[in-house]
Point group: C2
Chain length 141, copies 2
DNA sequence: TGACTCACGTCAACATCTTGACATATGCTG
DNA sequence: CAGCATATGTCAAGATGTTGACGTGAGTCA
């Protein structure tokens, strides 16, 4: 029974950690006039310019519909631009978007450094690997 | 630089694991006509009967307003009942609620067991402790 | 070539959660 | 006791995300 309790408790603390991280990122990004989702989108585009709507949605773990309206907002504020070349529109950061992202990235890095303060480099690698293993175990079948 | 990338990546895989768990739980709970939030609420009440609205909200990491309307739904379907004794209404499971929860708990336990398949007991304890440490590090200040 | 399948973009409807606001009750403090 | 800060329940509004549905291009195969 304590086994069952621990199992459910892992899901519980997973949610707890996620909510805490989300709240901390939200607060840090507010000064940069970005939401967490918007930041995630910009960060993706910085690493891999030219992604399409659906690719960005996958990378951010939201539906393509949600990414669609997110991109509409980011385009209207000129943080990203769409290249209407081929069949599917490909997106890249504008200069202004890249500038915004630079500051926001620092703020986010500070938050996550705070979260990882208790761990040394080896423990961080292990935690990373463990979380990946959790996600992949759930994706099986 | 790989240090910074790893830092941000931990947040990334944390979100990835959370989304995967949420989706798996949602699918498992659909057969029991419960949402994840409703299940969380019922599980709390099973372990600690007599909690108030705000206490339940804290335990589930949502706002009291969200818990308020969640409880309204659960009351309308007779899964929980409110004890309008003192100043603050205290909630308990109905027989029907307890019955529903029993089945749902098994489904959720199966999902989480699937998530934790890659780990032995010692690794599970470590993962639990690590996630708690993350949440608490973020709560500092 | 024509039919089928599939992925993508997009519109609309709906659900859920959050923030803001306000009234009320509780407890502390001078 | 009066006053103030705090915590709670509750209503209303807004933001964000999901599911469902539809049209359209691209690739596959007989």
């Amino acid at each position: 029974m304590s086994q069952v309790d621990l199992d459910t408790a892992v899901g519980y603390v997973l949610r707890r950690a996620t909510v805490a991280l989300r709240a901390a990122m939200d607060a840090a990004l507010r000064e940069h006039d970005l939401t967490v989702s918007q930041y995630s989108c910009l960060e993706q585009l910085a690493h891999r310019p030219g992604l399409t709507n659906t690719e960005l949605a996958r990378g951010t773990f939201v539906s393509r519909q949600a990414m669609h309206q997110l991109l509409a907002t980011l385009k209207s504020t000129d943080l990203v631009q769409g290249d209407e070349g081929g069949r599917h529109e490909r997106f890249t950061l504008t200069d202004d978007g890249a500038r915004h992202l630079t500051g926001a990235s620092k703020a986010v890095a500070a938050v996550q450094e705070r979260m990882l303060t208790p761990f040394d480099a080896e423990q961080r690698r292990r935690l990373y690997a463990d979380l990946v293993a959790c996600a992949e175990a759930l994706s099986q079948q």
